[in-house]
Symmetry: C2
Subunit: 107 residues, 2 copies
DNA sequence: TAGCTAATTAAATAATTTTCTAAAATAAAT
DNA sequence: ATTTATTTTAGAAAATTATTTAATTAGCTA
């Protein structure tokens, strides 16, 4: 049995956060990703594997190459978690809700 | 020299996330926090120390007791990081920005 | 002051994570 | 068919993190 990989554990590593940053711009192969780091390709491959296990990235097979894509849905889980604390510092959402309520009323 | 504690590393641990959840509701002493977990007080104390090092919580000394407070400012750093990916799934902020631009123009 | 309570610090061990080298798998190219 | 390119997997070592027990610090109270 596989241990379910935790998304917070996945983004704890700075290299993995950097990989996510790259993949958010464009899908890339492990080789191309590895070029941006000092570590070996195997090490980067391992990081990608961890990101894959928690579904922060998705594979697209193309011949012998594998393109990795950023998966926003999964990142939203982090967003949702941090959102519960948003009320402590943010008043923008209040403004938004007021606005949305207003245009809702108009209908 | 102290190694600067990383906030992403701090929230990677589920126990520490749970501690933050408690402290967001109310300031608490280490003893009171520890009652919510199976680990020893020393272990919880260590977790609190890690949260303190990265400033996710702040101390308030009261005699021999220490009240720990949640620090929203630091949590916002996580929020800011995840916000760069928000555009991939959220359109609310677009609506908000349009609205804010509109009321700005009126002035 | 002596004893009690709240909390941290220290030291040791256990567990996990990271990284590397080497080997294997697979597809494309010659 | 052999070689080359891309990537993953395996195994071991190194580094980091988590947890426990024991010791220490400091405030409170009788």
């Amino acid at each position: 049995m596989e241990v379910r990989r935790d998304i917070f554990q996945a983004i704890a590593d700075p290299t993995r956060r950097a990989i996510l940053g790259l993949l958010a711009l464009q899908a890339m192969t492990p080789g191309a990703i590895a070029e941006n780091f000092d570590s070996t390709r195997q090490t980067i491959s391992k990081h990608i594997q961890i990101l894959t296990e928690c579904q922060l990235v998705k594979q697209e097979l193309k011949g012998r190459e594998i393109y990795y894509h950023f998966n926003p849905k999964k990142m939203k889980e982090v967003s949702d978690w941090v959102d519960q604390y948003r009320k402590f510092w943010d008043n923008k959402l209040d403004i938004l809700e007021t606005y949305l309520a207003k245009i809702q009323k108009k209908k």
